[in-house]
């Protein structure tokens, strides 16, 4: 028994060695996210990252944070990587202040940093990162709410539920913030129309989100619009049908193209989604870092998230989804 | 081997009219009990007879609902084990009240550790004193064990009971309650325990010995107290009753 345990431990140490035996002159890029490994959306980003790394002959490492959403752990990982000394870093920034010092340290050390997926809410003014590749979150939330508004006849009130999947994380707050802004503007523009909304913590665990939405709707049956800060709201389709809610009664808008969203779109429960093109978020930062390393070129911002997807676009989109690209 | 009931005078322990209910169950019905200094009382009875309840009240685990207890003539209220121990009543449990992972010395003094400094609950323990006195105590009952730091779980059942008895002795018990202490012991270990009880009798310690094994109890007891269905049904010198008669009485 003791021998077996020692053997396993040796195996573990061997794994540790194996990781370090990379070719010495390939650039090393590290991509960090605050999310846990169980987030399927990130597999698309990883696909983009892997393709770029293969193309540019670089060694890439994607580091998730365990436990999911532990910002301090994410920061700790970032600091470890900066100390290690790599050729480029891509990271998500979900809090305006937390990462500032470390990102600056990296940039001062000559390590370029590109933020992806979520940026400092003040952009370049709030953080020393070289560029941002991702979706304009606030704008996206606004666009989604606007799209839902268009689907509801002008003589009907709007009772909207906004699902804030992770309170306190800037990406979720920004998207819902955009939706709220649209609703406030609509209230001002249509003073005779009843427009109300409520924000709840809808969670980023799909079964929990589904259950919370359905319970809310059970309590407030005149709810006719829902915007999720991510894709998890689509999971509510099942229980909404159990409640006897027909397609078109509750208009849902979500983010991203994951199978459950497309499925519910076909069933008529999700009206719109926005693709933030995760493949780009994995691919473009690596491309930039590789070019910066090789030719000294500079970084550039990219807004990857303007692709609004409605049921009419489904066929084309599905083809690329099956390839793991979208 | 039974001696005649000895030294006259005030009984060291006297209970009058004890009553105890557990919910609707009347576990003790108006029980009187007394024991003299240096007496060995064999407390017998079938399961549910009430002997456990009587013992638990004397050792402070439970409190009686009605009735009085006198120790050396003084009326006392035994509200917890530490009160009983403070009155000189020590109990040897069937399961041996020892913490297996802790050492002999630690178990010897558990709950009443000698302090170098401070008050109980906020005190710095005098480890050297504990080790010394524990080993002394063990030698006093003829136990020669490895060392004070040996974890109790390394000892046999009989050795543990030996340590428990040595512990009771150290704290100058006046009354030693033995609640079925030999149940899980071998013949040899059982005899050792019985020998200890006899030795203690010589030192003036009163023992109340509960056992199912009437053959163990009879030879060493001065008096037999029998209980059934919560009442005392017999209280007489051991010499006046045989083991067979005892068996019939309590079944």
């Amino acid at each position: 028994m003791l021998k077996t345990s020692l053997a396993v431990l040796a195996l573990g140490a061997a794994l540790a060695v194996a990781g370090t035996a990379g070719a010495a002159d390939r650039p090393k890029f590290v991509y960090l996210t605050q999310t846990g490994i169980d987030n399927s959306f990130w597999q698309s980003i990883k696909r983009g990252m892997d393709d770029a790394c293969a193309q540019f002959e670089a060694d890439c490492q994607l580091i998730f944070t365990t436990p999911n959403g532990d910002l301090q752990k994410h920061l700790q990982n970032l600091e470890t990587v900066v100390e290690q000394g790599v050729d480029g870093i891509v990271t998500v920034i979900v809090n305006d202040d937390l990462y500032d010092e470390t990102v600056k340290k990296a940039v001062d050390k000559g390590i370029p940093v590109i933020t992806a997926n979520v940026d400092d809410s003040q952009g370049a003014a709030g953080n020393a990162r070289n560029a941002f590749v991702g979706q304009d979150l606030f704008e996206a939330g606004y666009v989604l709410m606007k799209g839902l508004h268009a689907k509801i006849p002008a003589d009907q009130p709007i009772h909207a539920l906004l699902g804030l999947s992770r309170p306190g994380e800037s990406w979720a707050e920004a998207r819902i913030g955009g939706a709220k802004k649209f609703l406030e503007e609509a209230k001002a523009a249509e003073p005779n129309r009843e427009i109300t909304y409520e924000v709840i913590d809808s969670s980023n665990d799909i079964s929990v989100t589904a259950s919370r939405i359905c319970q809310y709707v059970q309590g407030k049956p005149d709810t006719n619009a829902y915007v999720d800060a991510g894709f998890w709201g689509a999971g509510a389709g099942e229980c909404l049908r159990d409640l006897g809610i027909k397609p078109g009664q509750l208009h849902m808008a979500t983010f991203d193209l994951v199978p459950v969203v497309l499925d519910e779109m076909k069933k008529g429960y999700v009206d719109i989604t926005i693709d933030q093109q995760p493949y780009y978020q994995g691919y473009l930062p690596i491309l930039q870092l590789a070019m910066m390393k090789k030719f000294g070129l500079s970084a550039f911002d990219v807004n990857t998230g303007k692709a609004v997807v409605e049921p009419k676009d489904l066929e084309q989109v599905e083809k690329f989804m099956s390839m793991g690209i979208r | 081997m039974s001696n005649a009931a000895n030294t006259a005078g005030e009984p060291i322990i006297k209970c009058v009219g004890l009553q105890k209910w557990y919910g609707a169950v009347h576990a003790l019905k108006n029980v009187d009990f007394h024991a003299a200094r240096g007496e060995v009382i064999g407390l017998v009875g079938d399961n549910g007879a009430g002997k456990s309840t009587l013992i638990k009240i004397l050792s402070g685990v439970h409190t009686q609902d009605q009735g009085d207890i006198f120790i050396e003539g003084r009326s006392v209220s035994i509200t917890g084990p530490e009160v009983a121990m403070g009155l000189g009543i020590e109990t040897i449990y069937q399961y041996t009240a020892m913490v297996p992972e802790m050492s002999i010395a630690q178990n010897f003094f558990i709950g009443r550790e000698p302090l170098k400094f401070g008050r109980p609950g906020l005190g710095i323990v005098d480890r050297a004193k504990m080790a010394r006195e524990a080993m002394e105590g063990l030698r006093g009952v003829g136990l020669h064990l490895r060392g004070p730091d040996t974890p109790v779980k390394a000892l046999s059942g009989g050795q543990r009971q030996g340590v428990a008895i040595a512990r009771a002795m150290h704290f100058r018990s006046k009354v030693l309650i033995l609640d079925e202490p030999t149940n899980h012991l071998s013949v040899k270990e059982t005899n050792k325990v019985l020998d200890h009880v006899v030795e203690l009798k010589g030192l003036g310690v009163t023992s109340i010995f509960i056992s199912h094994n009437l053959h163990h109890i009879h030879p060493i007891s001065d008096r037999i107290v029998a209980m059934a269905r919560g009442e005392k049904i017999a209280d007489l010198p051991a010499g006046e009753i045989s083991v067979d008669e005892m068996t019939r009485m309590i079944s």
Binding site: L2, L71, Q72, G168 | V99, M102, I110, E113
Partner: protein, 323 residues
């Protein structure tokens, strides 16, 4: 083997300490970026915060109970402290308030468990959600902004020791470890904690007030978790409602690796610290080695199991050997 050495080997934290030392030396040779000043400095940063929670939960587990709410208290105490500071309270009083709240939560955990007679696992599981929810409610949707100009150097300032630059919080951790270790080993209350967890019936029959002992441990555990949370919040100068989410699992893992028995009555402060250092070291090495993201969690989990198995095996071997 001499009895003293054998007794040493049988101690719960010994195996963890040996594994830690062995891996530390091994990794230093295998990966030259491991034992570098910068990496060591970063590695040591969050150790005090995790170790303090691990120590608190170790003591409670020794006493025979669990606290799953430590992660939530870790987030709630600093939330309260920062909100009070924002409202103009002086720093010291705000911190004290955060600690008192933590102690009260510990008291609640203890009373619910002991008076209502439900397993502490369940009681503190409920508190995990309640305390976390309180933190979210107090934050009110947008987390309060940490006062960035506040002088926190007395708690988390950098200590330049030449070879490595740890935070001042490391000193606090060492002081707390020494104090708690002293209580467990040299004070009568420490013996009562081991007895209460090791054999509650025996403890009670020997006159120990096990309920009081446990409640004290519940309160200690929660207060330490709150203090650790305040340290972390002050170090990263941010307070978010989900600070410390999932920490209870990490703390229990560290405690178990350090030799604590989940059944109670066995464990040590040194073990808690070593367990923390070991887990953090494994994570550090995995990052430095470029281990593929999807295997990360697997590697950490496997290492934890191996460490505990080795721990148990070494103990059994040591106890089985003749003195």
């Amino acid at each position: 083997m001499k009895p003293n050495v054998r007794n040493l080997m049988a101690r719960p934290e010994m195996a963890a300490l040996l594994i830690f030392a062995a891996l530390f030396v091994a990794f230093s040779f295998i990966n030259d970026r491991f034992f570098a000043t910068g990496n060591m400095t970063v590695y040591l940063q969050p150790i005090p915060e995790l170790a303090i929670v691990a120590m608190g939960i170790t003591i409670l587990i020794i006493a025979g109970e669990f606290d799953l709410s430590v992660g939530s208290v870790f987030g709630l105490s600093p939330m309260v402290t920062v909100l009070l500071m924002q409202a103009g309270w002086p720093v010291a009083v705000a911190i004290l308030a955060g600690l008192v709240l933590a102690a009260l939560i510990g008291l609640a955990n203890g009373l619910i468990t002991l008076r209502l007679k439900i397993p502490s696992f369940i009681a503190t599981l409920g508190m995990l959600f309640m305390a976390r929810s309180l933190a979210v409610v107090l934050a009110g949707g947008f987390p309060p902004v940490f006062p960035r100009e506040l002088d926190v150097s007395w708690l988390v300032g950098r200590l330049d020791l030449g070879l490595v630059a740890p935070r001042v919080s490391l000193l606090y951790m060492i002081a707390i470890a020494l104090a708690l270790g002293f209580v467990l080993r040299r004070m009568d209350f420490g013996h009562w904690i081991y007895a209460t967890g090791g054999h509650p019936q025996a403890a009670r029959d020997m006159g120990i007030k096990t309920e009081r002992v446990k409640i004290a441990c519940f309160m200690l555990c929660a207060t330490l978790a709150g203090f650790a949370g305040i340290i972390q919040s002050f170090r990263v100068k941010v307070i978010v409602p989900n600070l410390g989410t999932g920490l209870e699992m990490q703390a229990i893992a560290a405690a178990v690796i350090g030799g604590v028995a989940l059944t109670g009555g066995v464990g040590s402060i040194l073990g808690a610290v070593v367990g923390t250092l070991l887990i953090a070291m494994i994570e550090n090495i995995l990052i430095l080695s470029g281990v593929n993201a999807n295997w990360f969690m697997f590697a950490v989990g496997a290492m934890i199991v191996v460490a505990v198995v080795l721990n148990t095996q070494t103990r059994l071997k040591a106890e089985g050997m003749k003195g």
